[in-house]
Every structure is written in C-alpha cells, then in structure tokens.
Symmetry: C2
Subunit: 306 residues, 2 copies
C-alpha cells in the first residue's frame, strides 16, 4: 500500500515564469491519476519524466482555466503519440463539449477511446471503483460548480502468517482463502483456531483528499475524516480573509482548521495567490492550528508507505 504524489503545479490564476497552475500526478496502489490540468501540464509531465501512457484517469475539479486549460493539449498530444489505451475524464458538465468542439474543429479524430464522466451532483458520488482503489467526489463551495476528489485504497485481505500455518499440516492450501477473508479455522475434530492466530493485519489502506478550490466549508469534514493526506487550497492568508470570502477561497488558517477538525494525518497547502512572495507565511499560519502541515511546491514529491 503506497502513495506517491507529484506536484506539477500549485499556484492560482495564471501561469507565470516560476508558477505553474494546478495539476498533480497521483500514484496510489499502482494506479495513476492526473488531478486537474492547468495550461502547461503536459510540459510539466515531461519535465518530471512521467510517462504519458501511465495516465488512464483525469479528474478536473472545475472549469476555471487554471484547472483545465491544459487538458485539450494533453489529449491532442496523446493522439499524436499514437495512444491506443482508453482515457477516462471526470469533470463538470460542459467539459466534454469544450473538448469535443475543439477536436471537431481541428478535424482531429482520436485513435483511442475517450470516455467522459460528467459530474453535476451536489452530493458526493462514487465515480471510480476498481479492485484496488475507489474515488469519491467531494462537493466544494466555490464560485462555480466544483468537486474535490477522495482517493481511497481498498482494504486488502488479511495476510497469512506462514510461520504458524506451516507448522499445522491440517491447514491446506484450499483453506487459505477463508483465512485471508477473516474466517476462523475449523479442524476435522471440531476444534477451532482463531483467525488472528493464523493471519496478520493487512497494511492500512491509504487515503488522499484533494480539495481545490473552495471556501471554508465544514460540510466536507465527514468525507475527508482521518485521511492520510489532505490537500486543501489556501489561496490567501488571514490578512486577506475578506477577499477569501468574496472569491470563495480559503486562507491557510482555515485550511489548518479543516485539517484539525477532520483529524487528518498531514495537510498539504497550495493554490497560492501571486500577491505573496513568501510562501512560508502560509505554513506558519496553518501550523498555528495544525502542526503537521506542509507546502505544496512545484516538483515536490510526497510519499506514504504503510
């Protein structure tokens, strides 16, 4: 069970010389996800040597340009690189129209299947569910329809404790699956060996919540409770809290409060406004209420192993 998150961009509004807009590449239990795709994301993927073919699922939080203007270029590049694997795009209603209009007008017929999963629910939805991972939307409060995304590894089966089992010849291979699923072992003479004596706890599933862009909203707390890692936007510092309210963004202090109340393990800050030159102020502010905070920085990698 492992998570590796690469920050491709973590600044708000517009790309600047040293500031890349929102995009993250998430590897969770060997599945790969691209989260948001600001202009220039494909260049960032190349810079950090992430193979384009690894991306099978793209999640777009909302239709402000700093979160999706790079998607049409990425899809076009996939096609030029002769991609044949299917691509799934999850994002607000309208995203499909934007992408297909541009492909149509450029007479670009894709050689790979492109599946859109358009989102418009105000409630959290399970939008991806495979044998290793599930992804839920996190409805956020922003100026336009916006979702965060909760990525959760699935709980694995219990691990066989072979140092014990190998000494018990009455336990045969055909019994293993029952043990993995948590059942006790019943021998032919009717005696029972408790499952916990024969198996070990599986690694704890890892969970990651991506919340950008959003005003301070406690309605997300139950969804993100206890996650290992929370990315919560912090466009502003408290000195501009009025501006945060007006634009439906959060301050670093508010991000810290959400992290504390949701009892997450680690908080990752990002989506900084260009007005601030010293990003450490964000960290200091969040740390006032939640002391396991960290700054997202372009190119930074965060790894969690259980």
């Amino acid at each position: 069970m492992s998570l590796k998150l690469t920050i491709l961009g973590c600044h708000s509004a517009t790309p600047r010389t040293l500031a890349h807009t929102s995009s993250q590449f998430l590897e969770l239990n060997k599945d790969c996800f691209l989260i948001d795709c600001g202009e220039g994301t494909q260049r960032q993927l190349r810079k950090y040597k992430i193979k384009f073919s690894r991306i099978k699922h793209v999640f777009i939080s909302h239709l402000h340009g700093d979160h999706f203007f790079g998607l049409i270029g990425l899809i076009s590049t996939f096609n030029l690189l002769n991609r044949d694997k299917e691509l799934h795009v999850y994002g607000p209603t309208g995203l499909k129209e934007i992408i297909l209009l541009q492909l149509k007008l450029s007479k670009s017929w894709l050689d790979f299947p492109l599946h859109f999963h358009e989102l418009n629910s105000a409630e959290s939805e399970l939008i991806l569910d495979n044998d290793k991972v599930e992804v839920h939307t996190i409805p956020l409060k922003h100026r336009i329809y916006t979702n965060g995304f909760l990525f959760k590894e699935k709980k694995q089966e219990r691990k066989l404790n072979m140092s014990v089992i190998s000494k018990l010849p009455e336990i045969e291979i055909c019994d293993y699956q029952n043990l993995k699923s948590g059942k006790d072992f019943k021998s032919e003479d009717g005696s029972i060996i408790q499952n916990k004596e024969l198996t070990l706890d599986p690694p704890k599933p890892i969970s990651y919540a991506y919340c950008s862009d959003t005003a301070y909203s406690e309605s997300i707390l139950t969804l993100i409770e206890n996650v290992d890692l929370l990315y919560h936007e912090s466009t502003f510092l408290e000195e501009h809290s009025e501006l945060a309210k007006k634009t439906k963004h959060s301050t670093a202090l508010e991000a810290g409060k959400i992290a504390l109340k949701a009892k997450v393990n680690k908080l990752l800050l990002g989506h900084y406004s260009s007005r601030y030159k010293n990003l450490n102020l964000f960290l200091e502010e969040a740390n006032q209420v939640f002391n396991n905070s960290e700054l997202a920085e372009t190119g930074k990698q965060i790894e969690i192993d259980n």
Copy 2:
C-alpha cells in the same frame, strides 16, 4: 519604418521541454501583433518581457492546437490583469465559438471588449487597415482551413528636402502638403520645379509574410512577392518529402524555392518536426536554392530598419 520579430515558439505538433509551439510577436511601425498562440505562449511572453497590454491584435492561422491552444489562457489572463483595452482576434470560423464556450462555462465575464474577425474566404482579404499598416490573409493549402498573414507598412509621404526648399522663398508652408504627396511646384510666373528636386524618397515600407502551415503552393507567390521577410514553414526535410505531401506540410527545400520564386529578401524557416535533432540541416537544405535563409529559434529576434 522598422520591424522587430520575436520568435516565441517555432516547433510543430506538441510543446516539449525545449520546444515551444508556434507563436510570434511582431512589432511593425510601432503596431504590435501576436501571430499564432500555441499552448504556453503567455509564459513565453513573460519570459521575453513583452508587456501583455501591447497586444491589441491576435492572428490565428488555423485551428490545429499547436497554433491556438494558448489563446483561451491568454485571454483569461488579460481579464485577470484587469485589461480594459479592446482586443481583436482574427482566425478561422469556429474560433469564436471555442473561446466563448469556455468563458461562458467558467462564468468569466470579460471586462474588455473582445472582437472576433472570423475568416472563411478562400481568397486573400484585407483584414486590418489603419494609418500605418495593413494586413492581408494569405490562403494556404493545409489539411484544414488555414491562412498565412501579410503585414505591410503603408507607403509614407515624400520627405521635404529642406536644404533646397529653405533657399526658395516662393515655397511657403501651405505648399508643403502638395510636395509631400508628390506634386510638382508651380510658381506664380508659371515655371515648374519638379517634385523630385524638392523632396526625398520616404523610407521603403517593410513587409512581412507569415506562412504556416502549408503544402508547397505557388499560388501564394504573387501575394508575398518582394517581401522583406518571409516565414515559411519547413516541417520536414526532403528525405521525408512524401510525408510532407501526405500531411500537407513543406520541406526546407520547398520553402527555399518559394522564397526564390517570390524574390523575397530573407527567408525564415520554422515549424520543425520533432524527428530532427539537428536543425542546421533545414538551413543547409534551404540554402541550396535560396542563400539568405535563417532558422527561427525560440527567443530569436529579427530586426529590419529602412
């Protein structure tokens, strides 16, 4: 009369770590024009310290992504920077729909006037005409509807030769405008002084033709004849001439032939395919037929003064 051309990107297909897609910033007789706008153009403008507010006219050759995917981001950034000056965008029919759809879905109401001039004619058109410059389309032959653009300084009035005029008291200030417009001077006694004895030739107007993307096509020759500078795409070398034909692009040799036949002063090559590592091969090939060729390179500036 002066031209300054800054190459923001000159590579084909997709942006790569060291390869930027098509965009050029043209300053002609103090008017400023952005020509094509591949993804990442706004970052290139910042890199080369070109003030966004100087751009009042954007010309898009065609709707392949490497020529326009950066436009929506640039327009959005103009808005975030509180632009109030009007912007004129010239490009194929459909470009307006693409831009307006994205602005609508992101609920971005522009605070500046955005005027689209949609192009669909198969014939050359005069699309901009002010007191200093005129711009004509150059219909090109590509896989989708494509125009090049011809930028021409307007011919200036003749210059008064004051070292002669000041010695002739019968010529008064009220005669100057007639002299500037080329008329001879008729004195009260009926004698005539030829205009060329009283005036000097004005600086030669500068002209620039941008031709990307296109198959080899002699139909553009009359339009671009004698231009000071011709940018002609050279996606391929002759060794891949079949591929050039198939994809409706040109080879460097073909670009050289067009430059020769159109009797231009200088040829600028660009829109290189990523398959070639050594761009000097393009220069060598074009120079076989036209020896005043030059490679477009990202960041290069070309200046012409008359």
